[in-house]
Subunit: 267 residues, 3 copies
C-alpha cells in the first residue's frame, strides 16, 4: 500500500474529495488515503501552504502529498509534480508549495502535460479529478521517472510569505500566519531565534506586542496559563511562538487574525 | 480489499458513521472505506440522489455504494440493495437512488428482509448500523446472489426530480438542482443539449435568466470571468450548466438556491 | 491490518489528525484507520466519554481506540493505556474513559512513561502527535506487554457523570447527556429500567417532564410522530430514552441541552 495524503478546500458536503479517491483507486488499488484536511478556506492558498508544511514530514518517506486548492483551474496555471526530501508532491503551480520548495529545494519540478497520466476527458473546472488525482495514483504506483509527466520547469510560483526579522538587537518582528480550530494564533517567529537572542542578551524578560495588547513572558505549556481569559504565549507544536487563551479562543477573544504584526522584545 | 463508499447525513460530530464502519469490519476485514460525504443536509434525500449520481462511476467496478439518508427509519419503508452498471448499491427505498435507477436500469432490486444479513437486534432508529452496514459488508464479501437478501421488488420509490425541457426552438428550461460548498449553483441543463441547439440554430449568442438577473454567454472556465463579483455561467464538472462568482459564492451573492428556474435562450 | 479508531476535538480544518496518522504509519504500516469523529467540542471531555462508549464495542476485538481530547496537555495529567473487553484504549487520564472503565473494569491501567514508545522530542502542546499516536501504533503492532509502557496506576480520573435514579416507585429521574447532529437529545434513562417499572407497576401510561414541557408516551420509532413540530420520545440506538422532533431538531425547537433534568412518571 502506498500512502497518499489529501489537502483541499473542497469542504465536507460534496462528492469532490471522494471522487478523487475513486479516480485514484481505478488506476491503483494499493493506496492508503490519509485526509490531512478538506477544510482549507475556499481558495486559501497561503493557508494550504502552511498546513502541508506542518504535516508532510510526519508521514513515511515515499508518501505522495496531493494538494488541490486551485482557484486558477482552467487557466494557464500549470499542474506540477516533484520529488523532494523523500516525498512526492502533486498540485497546482500557484504557490501552494512555497514552504515545501523553500525548505526541500527540489532539483526538478515537472509540469504535468502528458495525457497518458490524465483522465481521457479533462474538464475546465475540476483538474483535481481529471489531472491531479490520476497523476498522484500513477506516481504512487511508481516504475517511471517523473520526467515522463512533462517538461521540467524552473520558475515555480513562490508566494511572498511573511518572514520573521531581527530588526534590532533585542527585537524580533513577525506575523500571525495561521489560526487553528481552537483559535490558537500561530506566528512565524521560531523558538530557535527566541532562544538565541535570549541567550546572547542574557535577557531577564520578554514582552510581546500584538495589535490588541501586550503579553508578558512565554509559558512552557497551555496549563501554566492563569485561570480566566488572559491571552498567553507559548511555543506551539511547530516550534514557533503561538498565542492562546486557556479553554478558549485567542482569535475570537482578542481579535487576532492572519497577518497581524507581532513584536517580541527582550529586556 | 473491497471498496465501500459512504454517503450519509450523519454529520461529523457523532459516532454514527464510525460505528457503521466498525459493524462492517466485524463482518468483513477486507474493506477499504471511502467517505463520499457525511455532510448531506439532514433528511436531504434529493441532495443525496445527486451526490451519489455524480460520484458512483468514478470508482472501480465492483465497489459497493452505501447511502444512509433515512428519515423513514423505523417505518415500513423498505431497505433495498441492487447491482447495476457493475456496482452495488445499498440503502433505504426512499428515492435516494432515483438518478441511479433511471440511468442504470437495474434488472433486479431486492428488499433486505433476511435476518442473516442484519445485526441480531435491529433498533427502530438506526438501520444504518443494524441493516444497511451489515448488508453492505456481506455484499462486499460476495459469494452469494443478492436474491438471498430478500424478495425482488418492482416499484422502487422514484422522486419526481426536475428535468430540462426544450420549450421553444431556442429555449431550454431547467432548474438549479445543487449548490456546492463553494456556492456554485449546478443546473440540470446539459452541455449536450446546449451544444445541439447552438449548432442547429447557428445561434450567435446565448442569454440565461435566473430569478435574480440575466447572464450573457457561457464561459470556458472559471478563469475567464471578469474581476469583481459578476455572476457567470460555465459548464461544470458534471457536464451541466453551472453558475459561479470568481473567488466568491454565486449562491450567497445572488441568492440562488435549489429549485430556482433557469431559462437558456439562444439568439 | 490492525484497526485504530480516532476520536478527537481537532476539528476538520487543521493538519492535526492527519499528522497523528502519519506518525502512526511511520511506526506501523499495517494500520486501518477509522475516524469516529474529530468533531468533539473543544475540550469536551464528557462528550467524548459518551461518544467512545457508544462506539467502541461495534468494532472487531483487538481494535485500538485512540482518544485525544486533552485540555491538560503539558500539565502533570498522565497519558494512559489499557486493555479491556478485548480492546485497547489510549489517551489522557482526564476522565475521557470514565464510561469505559466503569463498564469494562480493566484489571490494569498503565501510565505511558517509557520514552521508547514516544517521539524523540515531546512537545508541551501536542501529546496526540508525540505520545498518544506513537503508543497507539506500537500497541496495534503488539508483541509486548502493556507493562512496558510504564507503571500501573490505581486511581484513574473518573468523572462524576449523571446517573438515572428511581426516586419513587413510579418515578425515574435522569438527565440529557448528549445532543447529536440531528438535534436529538439523548438521556441516561435506560430502556431496561423503563420496561422494568412499567411491568412492575402494570402502568397504563407514562409522561415525561423536561424543562420546556411534558411529553406523553414513548413512541416505537421516529415515524410514529405526528406531523408538525411536536417533541416526542422514543428509545434511541443506545437503548436509552431520547427526544426528537420529526424532520427537525428537538434541541433547537425546545431548547434542550446537555444536563437538563428529565423525569419519567408512570401512572
Amino acid at each position: 500500500m502506498s500512502i497518499v495524503t489529501l489537502t483541499t478546500d473542497f469542504g465536507y458536503s460534496d462528492s469532490y474529495a471522494g471522487v478523487m479517491k475513486g479516480v485514484m483507486l481505478k488506476i491503483n488499488r494499493e493506496l492508503q488515503f490519509v485526509d490531512i484536511t478538506h477544510g482549507i478556506s475556499p481558495q486559501g492558498i497561503q493557508q494550504a501552504a502552511y498546513v502541508i508544511y506542518s504535516a508532510f514530514s510526519h508521514f513515511p518517506e515515499g508518501s505522495t502529498h496531493l494538494l488541490v486548492v486551485d482557484p486558477g483551474v482552467g487557466s494557464k496555471r500549470r499542474p506540477i509534480a516533484f520529488e523532494a526530501g523523500g516525498y512526492f508532491f502533486v498540485g497546482p503551480d500557484n504557490g501552494v508549495f512555497t514552504k515545501i520548495i523553500e525548505k526541500l529545494e527540489p532539483s526538478c519540478i515537472h509540469e504535468i502535460t502528458n495525457p497518458d497520466f490524465m483522465e481521457a476527458n479533462v474538464s475546465n473546472t475540476f483538474h483535481g479529478r481529471d489531472i491531479f488525482a490520476p497523476a498522484t495514483a500513477w506516481i504512487a504506483r511508481g516504475g517511471f521517472g517523473l520526467a515522463s509527466l512533462g517538461p521540467q520547469i524552473s520558475d515555480p510560483v513562490i508566494l511572498d510569505l511573511p518572514r520573521q526579522t531581527q530588526s534590532a538587537p533585542n527585537l524580533i518582528e513577525g506575523r500571525i500566519i495561521y489560526v487553528d480550530h481552537f483559535g490558537n494564533a500561530v506566528t512565524n517567529i521560531t523558538a530557535g531565534l527566541i532562544a538565541k537572542l535570549q541567550k546572547e542578551l542574557g535577557a531577564e524578560g520578554v514582552e510581546i506586542e500584538v495589535p490588541s495588547g501586550v503579553i508578558k513572558g512565554i509559558l512552557e505549556s497551555y496549563c501554566e496559563a492563569p485561570d480566566g481569559k488572559a491571552i498567553c504565549a507559548t511555543i506551539g507544536s511547530l516550534d514557533t511562538l503561538e498565542f492562546f487563551v486557556r479553554s478558549g479562543s485567542a482569535s475570537a477573544t482578542y481579535g487576532l487574525s492572519v497577518n497581524d504584526d507581532v513584536d517580541v522584545r527582550f529586556y
